[in-house]
């Protein structure tokens, strides 16, 4: 695998994460518990969709076969998507959405922060701009983690259940492949081991403040997205998202 191939694959990994998370958050629009939160969740969705557009466009540019952001989003099959399993998990209730969001926000924050130092000009610039967005997301979801965890008995129970559901999907956030090795050697991306070292204490502190407990998974964590093996959710997400453009492949929108 050469540098270009690795970089393109990496951009797709980042772009798919932002796209699928944005898509999930978009499902909330109009259904949140309060108007203020409807607006807040949509802002996070918009930031993510925006990031995915930049990332997938750049992936197409490097690939140099004329593929656009929309070609990547709407004309790839399930097993070609490289988003982490965490972001495709269903919204469930607000507790599940916030927990998924928080666990991912902290990961994305430290990753983007490290990427501001990337030797790749696009990635460094992208990370610089997006880091501001993610800094806000991380604060918002962290604030909610604490409020809901340390709110009422009912909210506490719902949050613990949400953490039990989402936690097993956090392991593969930090899984590295040949793509990472090639790009780390070039100084383009950080080691995900370093990111995990920053992620873990921060997440543990907030979970603690939220009076919640990390579930014991007996050392087992879900994995598969690096090879395009997803949970059952992604197929439905794509069926919904891709139906219209696929029904009229020659149309412009």
């Amino acid at each position: 695998m050469n540098k270009e191939e690795a970089l393109q694959a990496y951009l797709i990994r980042l772009g798919d994460n932002a796209l699928i998370l944005g898509q999930r958050l978009g499902e909330w629009c109009g259904h949140a518990h309060q108007l203020e939160s409807d607006i807040a969740l949509t802002n996070v969705a918009l930031d993510n969709v925006g990031q995915s557009r930049n990332l997938l466009t750049e992936a197409g540019r490097i690939e140099d076969k004329g593929r656009t952001e929309d070609d990547f989003a709407f004309f790839r099959k399930e097993q070609e998507f490289r988003n982490n399993l965490l972001v495709e998990q269903e919204n469930g209730n607000f507790a599940q959405t916030i927990t998924r969001q928080y666990l991912f926000d902290v990961f994305q924050f430290h990753l983007y922060k490290a990427l501001t130092e990337s030797k790749d000009e696009f990635l460094a610039g992208f990370a610089e701009k997006s880091l501001k967005e993610v800094t806000y997301h991380r604060k918002l979801s962290g604030d909610w983690m604490v409020r809901l965890g340390d709110g009422t008995d009912e909210s506490h129970a719902k949050m613990q259940e949400a953490l039990d559901i989402m936690w097993p999907f956090t392991g593969e956030l930090f899984e590295m492949t040949e793509i990472d090795e090639v790009l780390i050697a070039e100084g383009i991306v950080p080691s995900l081991k370093d990111i995990e070292e920053k992620w873990r204490p921060e997440v543990e502190a907030v979970i603690d403040e939220a009076t919640l407990a990390i579930p014991d998974t007996m050392g087992y964590m879900a994995r598969g997205s690096r090879d395009g093996h997803h949970t059952e959710y992604l197929g439905y997400i794509l069926a919904e998202m891709q139906a219209l453009p696929r029904s009229m492949p020659d149309a412009k929108w």
Partner: protein, 99 residues
């Protein structure tokens, strides 16, 4: 142990936005939130989506004291005939500068 909120939408907060550094904060509208931190976050999400701001204040609406319509005459009319508070009230000899 669960505290039942009397108004489940949270408290009403008034939002003041500074559009550019150096100028005064101006009233932009209101949000509902259960605490100040969330009120600030909501104010950011609701009132600065189009780059309207560089700084935000939120104040619980019930902390604002206001004059009433009945006060208006006694509060404000007495200022009407005190033109000597304005520089244009005074004549300055022709040719004299920096006044």
């Amino acid at each position: 142990m669960t505290e039942k909120p009397e108004n489940d939408q949270g408290q009403l907060w008034e939002v003041f936005i500074q559009a550019k550094p150096g100028i005064a904060h101006k009233h932009a509208g209101s949000v509902h939130a259960h605490d100040a931190e969330m009120a600030l976050a909501s104010a950011r999400d609701v009132y600065t989506r189009r780059r309207e701001g560089t700084s935000i204040w939120v104040v619980p609406s019930n902390m604002i004291a206001a004059t009433t319509e009945q006060d208006a005459d006694s509060f404000f009319d007495p200022a009407d005939d005190k033109a000597y508070r304005h520089p244009t009230f005074y004549t300055v000899p022709e040719g004299v500068k920096y006044l």
